[in-house]
């Protein structure tokens, strides 16, 4: 059984112009110990998916479908059960999370507090000891437990946030743009740490980012999202090196390989913005920006179909294949 399975997930928000569909029918799964990269741009619905796993969505959100965490539907759980699975089954590292630390409390106490809330049998002393162990696990000296957030650098704060996400021994960690605000060298340090923790603890991870190249470093599989739907999915390296969907190709082009002469003095980009949820184009939602769209693309919405072994994509121009055989 997968640790996380999303079945036909649909999420919309209330607005003055009616319901805004942020997620429009997503099926995804993350296996135990697996790192799934979810890539997409602003407004594609990737952060809404992240929040839905722990039911952290605002009250005006309408949710349909199933979010199965270790086989149990998060959407129908009672509050007591939900509180129990949060942090201990799955935890989340937010975008810009280092600003989420309480500035007037020592970081060790903040980690210990998370442990005490979720484990009533824990004593204050054992929680403090665990906090120090967690801080060492994210490769900081244990004495940093006594530091206040302002005494730490951006990278160190992000390590503390990771320690906190690990506090209750989750099986799944959701990392929403965990390295976006960091410098390249610090990003490399944090990615290295996450990779180490994943193999050491057998953690499953849902890693969300706009940077497809980062996912080639950490992810086993990549799913690419556009306008609330998955448009391509497959093994990480294959999706990055040989994208099937024209949108995946465009997203990857923003982060070219240095030394790839096809990009030298010729950057590749798309006109226009990713669509806003209140104005999703007809047919294939990507067709107005698609460099290879045909007249048909404006009328027919493609389905996510198998386009090769372990790979799927939704594009009318791709030939679907059956039983993993190339057509």
């Amino acid at each position: 059984m997968s640790i996380l399975e999303l079945k036909d997930l649909r999420i919309s928000y209330a607005s003055s112009e009616g319901r805004l569909p942020a997620v429009r029918g997503v099926d995804l799964h993350v296996d135990r110990g697996e790192v799934l990269g979810l890539a997409g741009e602003s407004g594609c619905g990737k952060s809404t998916i992240a929040a839905s796993v722990l039911r952290l969505l605002p009250k005006d959100a309408e949710i349909d479908g199933e979010v199965l965490l270790d086989g149990e539907d998060v959407l129908t759980m009672g509050w007591t059960r939900l509180r129990a699975v949060r942090w201990s089954k799955a935890s989340i590292i937010f975008q810009g999370a280092m600003h989420g630390l309480n500035p007037v409390k020592r970081v060790g106490d903040q980690i210990a507090q998370a442990i005490l809330i979720h484990d009533e049998s824990a004593s204050k002393e054992s929680a403090a000891r665990q906090a120090r162990e967690l801080i060492e696990q994210v490769k900081l000296p244990a004495r940093r437990a006594r530091a206040y957030p302002h005494e730490l650098s951006g990278g160190q704060k992000q390590r503390i946030m990771i320690a906190m996400a690990l506090a209750c021994g989750p099986e799944l960690v959701i990392a929403d743009e965990p390295t976006t605000a960091l410098d390249v060298m610090v990003q490399a340090q944090i990615l290295d740490l996450l990779k180490g923790l994943q193999s050491e603890l057998g953690l499953a991870t849902l890693f969300i980012t706009h940077d497809l190249s980062v996912l080639t470093e950490v992810a086993d599989r990549i799913a690419v999202m556009y306008a609330g739907k998955i448009v391509e999915e497959g093994p990480a390296k294959q999706v990055f090196d040989k994208p099937k969907h024209p949108y995946t190709r465009a997203l990857g082009s923003a982060f070219p390989e240095i030394g790839d002469w096809s990009y030298r003095m010729s950057p590749v980009g798309l006109a226009g913005d990713p669509p806003h949820p209140n104005d999703i184009p007809s047919g294939c939602a990507f067709h107005p920006r698609c460099p290879v769209a045909t007249a048909e693309c404006a009328d027919h919405e493609p389905r996510l179909e198998s386009v090769g072994p372990a790979r799927s994509a939704s594009c009318l121009l791709l030939e679907p294949v059956q039983n993993g055989q190339m057509a």
């Binding site: 741009e41 949108y247 240095i258 950057p267 980009g269 798309l270 913005d273």
Partner: protein, 359 residues
Amino acid sequence: MSQPDVSAPLLELRGVRVSFATSRSLMGSPGASTVAQAVDGVNLSVSRGEILALAGESGCGKTTLARAIMGLQPAQEGQILLDGVPMGKTSRALRRHRRRVQLIFQDPSAALDPRQTIYESVAEGLRVQKTPGVERDLVAKALSRAGLRPPERFFTKYPHEVSGGQRQRVLIAGALALEPDVLVADEPVSALDASVRGEILQLLLKLRDELGLAIIIVTHDLGLAWMVANRVAVMYLGRIVENAPAEDLLTSPHHPYTKALLSVVPENHHQEQMILSGETPDPTSIPSGCRFHPRCPLVASGQARRLGIEDRCTSEDPQLTESGSDRAAACFAELVEVPSAQSPSTTTQDPTRATLEDS
């Protein structure tokens, strides 16, 4: 004014230093008054029709340097020359300098006034600079050069009515309206959606070629430098540590810091990862000797000792040394190593590799 020399660089920096007095250092010890040496003796030049990428991590001084180039931040020492003429210090001279050297901000959504039409945003600089000519024509010309055509269609629109890429074009039009010679673009695409970035970078290339602009792109993104830069200057703790034609620097870096930066660009696996520990150190306490030596992989691995340069690394401040073919690196290893020994094919035999990964 002297005649501009066509062979001379358009913009030249000679020994520029910028420091800030801070009441306390960045990492604690309150009370002590210290000086942050943000830019510590920078020599740099850009020619017409050239794009220079100024690369480095946050805190390396690249934004302060960009502000000094703009005349927005006075330099305590050194000279900034435009067409061979040093930048004046009077407010009139500074205003003239700032017309010729225009800045493009990072985040167009934050830099544009949401209550101002696109026409007003572009015309603002013209009014401040009291530019002669018919304002409407100048605005139209600038919008159209920035790729917003027909320009009249954009006059009455507000920033929220156009796409993110178009907003960045509006900012660029605002800069172009003043007919500058130099554009300084501070992370010009980092606030844009990934799929939108390419079109803005294409526009910068077009402006370089069609208007002969000199463009300085301040960025931490070496992949971006690969796509558009003619030259790359890498900055570390207020100093340029390597400066070379983009293709040379990005495919066979000389300075160990450049090598490390390139090795951690995701999906750039020509060399093994060299993850440096720690973050860019504090500009209020610059290490003695080579400022990079406490984090330098050559020193940590013993390679510097084997090359017989370790004493110099810890006690002498290396200068940017020309190593032929228009490139320079501030590293003592440059003086003892044959540059060809660093070609990618031989890097696997580099004895420093094994220990680099644990650092």
